[in-house]
Amino acid sequence: MHSRPTDLPDFTNPPLVEVVLGVQFSALPMKVIHAGPIHETFCDRYPFFEENAPLNHVFETFSSKVNPNSTSLKFDLLEKPDFPRLWLSSKEKSSLIQIQTDRFIQNWRKTDHEQDYPRYENILDEFSENFRAFSEKVSKLGLGKVEIDQSEITYVNFIEFTDHNFGDVSKYINMFREISLADGLKPERTSASFSMVAHKENTPYARLHVNTSPMISRFSNQVGQKFELTFRGAPEGEDIESAISLMNDGRSKIVNSFSTLTTASMHEMWGRKS
């Protein structure tokens, strides 16, 4: 059981609508015929099954390129892929496992407006347990060892607007406070995307991506701002412990960045405890 660091900002009712924990690894020789035995491993807790197009293999690398985030390189398969991206969902649909030849992803999604956030530690425990079950299964199926090359964590927040104005997000998000406008201009809608590099001893090892844009809640039809933070990088080792260590690091950076980037009045509304 993982435990929460005491020095992290904590909210009673954070605006989180989705948390994603994922690892990427060298592609396993999985075929469609393996999907059945893999689903069997999880079918008690995740009975629902869907297929989706696989995600691309991505690397978080560091160079002097002006725009390192938008790689122009994408691997495409000519024919129908041998193995799709499986979606295994829990009965209530809030918990989801995604599996493809080179990825294992655990999602928690808010599926009901009243649903409480189960907390990172619980989602991580679920990810950890399910990943180990997946690794054991692929080993038993003779598909080889899972060698992780990338670890990532994403928090998706939905910040409900207290009025129906899409434009002025400065009361919610700090970084837009400094934007001064010429007379007669009022902000209409606000989107932003930026990234920051995490360093250890002056060496870059991971990147935090922040994206925000207007959206409408599918629960309440309330207008608001999506505020998404993703931390991704190469773990120290190829094992799950190293990947989880990078996720924990990313979680701290995401929570601290979220607290820095959002306003004190919203913190009060979300019940900031520390």
Partner: protein
């Protein structure tokens, strides 16, 4: 044997043009991709087809992940215009070596697998040599490449 996704290169469709070939296996932003990356994809995509024991000495095939990492490195370190074109050499344990040779010196990057590489550089004029290992930071490699 590692899984090699079925691409047009795995089939016997030899009648398609090279341009169609690489656009089917990789999508490249036409305005951003350095020419050395395009050339490498055209010239070396066959590395993905190497079977087990390709060298007669138990040589391992190259995984898609290792090949993609090599291509990502090329994309990051190469710039246009660039005179020194890379050569890609398969390694018997499943790695790839990128080699840049010019009259000014030699730069060799041994990619063991994703996030694991070793660099060797020699300056032909000063005889200066350097070696180091790395994971996902390519800035030092870029600086060495500019010296060739």
């Amino acid at each position: 044997m590692n899984a090699v996704p079925k691409t047009i290169f795995n089939n016997e469709h030899q009648d398609v043009s090279a341009k169609q070939n690489y656009e089917n296996i990789f999508s490249l932003g036409s305005d951003r991709s350095p020419s050395c990356l395009r050339d490498a994809i055209l010239k070396y995509n066959s590395l993905l087809k190497l079977p087990e024991n390709w060298d007669g000495h138990c040589g391992k095939s190259i995984s898609v992940g290792t090949f993609l990492f090599a291509m990502k490195m090329l994309e990051d370190i190469c710039s246009d215009p660039q005179d020194v074109k890379p050569q890609l050499v398969p390694l018997s344990y499943g790695g790839i070596q990128l080699e840049f040779h010019s009259e000014r010196g030699d730069l060799e990057i041994e990619i063991e697998r994703q996030n694991r590489f070793n660099v060797y550089f020699e300056d032909a004029r000063t005889q200066e040599e350097c070696e180091f290992a790395g994971r996902n930071d390519f800035r030092e490699i870029e600086a060495l490449l500019r010296r060739l």
